[in-house]
Subunit: 211 residues, 2 copies
């Protein structure tokens, strides 16, 4: 049976999971969630996930939510992308938390405000504030990648997939790859992995659907 | 040997860890980090933690960072506050990620801007925006606690300690306990646990030091 991933193309948090499924050759199918028409606020979705968010992964036996948890479970189920040994696993978990705390959360909001809200609805001052905070986060990641190919250990892991989740999207939110050369080359390395696809090629739904 | 927790009183993320150490009877001592004079941006601190954040826990054999990781390790080391069995552990991890993604990150910023920046330096519009996002997060937590005493299972866990980290502070940031009755009673339950102390009683440094 294929796993079901509740997702939509614009969600970088869902993309992290879709990438992990694709790169581990796990059979899966997307279930489109109509976020932009309010589906995640409706009762049926809240029953599936009271936190009101994608991604949600239905493994057939369990309903999993929060990308950090789902990525950890995919690594455990497949024996891939999870690092080797307890020290690497702890280091992977550290970067998953950092991403949730400092990177993806802020990008998700900044990207939404910058691209998916009409200009007259954008709250004054919030986008530049978030971009300032993000600059500090990009600097931490770029410095970490300056001496290594992958975030943890000698190969790709779910730490890479978590941190890259929002960085391949074409819509502008203040991140320019050329400004961060080590991040830039790391994104090329991830994109060269067998099975890698861009977000809108991997999940249903994209901005042109609403154009 | 006592574990060393690099921390300062105003950090709710450090408070989560200090609480976990206190509630598990783990011998520890605080190491004051002078955040408000820029210590976390200095080279010596960045060598300790390139992410430039407290908390940092020196266990004697390992340097741990990210509150979610440290809490998980304290539960593993002490056999306390970690839930029982894989299903509860996964559910605890889910709430740790949710807290990092939706609750503590936003409160930390909102609280800093509201209380520790001079009014003329506060970026226009950001505080009300963050308060709006936080209201949605409080609603998720309050609803979850409406039918249960603890976030996961039948007793306190590191999921409770993570989510409560910023909610006992006296400085206002838009959170009023009376508005969220289930959160309110849950905070009373945590505060009744043997060893519980308020943030400024558990860690060095508080706003009156800079008054």
């Amino acid at each position: 049976m294929k796993m079901k991933l509740y997702c939509f193309g614009e969600s970088g948090n869902a993309y992290k999971v879709a990438l992990a499924l694709a790169l581990t050759d796990t059979p899966w199918q997307p279930v489109f969630v109509d976020f932009f028409n309010g589906e995640t606020r409706q009762a049926a979705f809240r029953t599936l996930n009271p936190m009101g968010e994608v991604p949600v992964l239905d493994t057939g036996t369990r309903i999993l939510t929060q990308s950090g948890v789902i990525l950890t479970e995919i690594a455990a189920m497949t024996g891939k992308l999870g690092g080797s040994g307890p020290a690497q696993q702890a280091e992977i978990l550290r970067w998953l938390f950092w991403d949730n705390h400092k990177l993806s959360t802020q990008i998700g909001t900044c990207r939404f405000l910058s691209n998916f809200l009409p200009p007259e609805k954008r709250p004054e001052g919030v986008i530049p504030f978030l971009q300032g905070r993000l600059k500090a986060a990009y600097a931490v990641l770029d410095a970490h990648l300056s001496g290594r190919d992958w975030i943890v250990g000698d190969g790709p892991s779910i730490a890479d997939l978590s941190c890259c989740g929002y960085l391949y999207y074409p819509e502008p939110f203040g991140f320019t790859r050329a400004d961060w050369p080590h991040i830039d080359r790391w994104l090329d390395r991830i994109a060269a992995l067998p099975g890698w696809k861009r977000p809108y090629a991997l999940m249903p739904g994209n901005p042109s659907d609403r154009a």
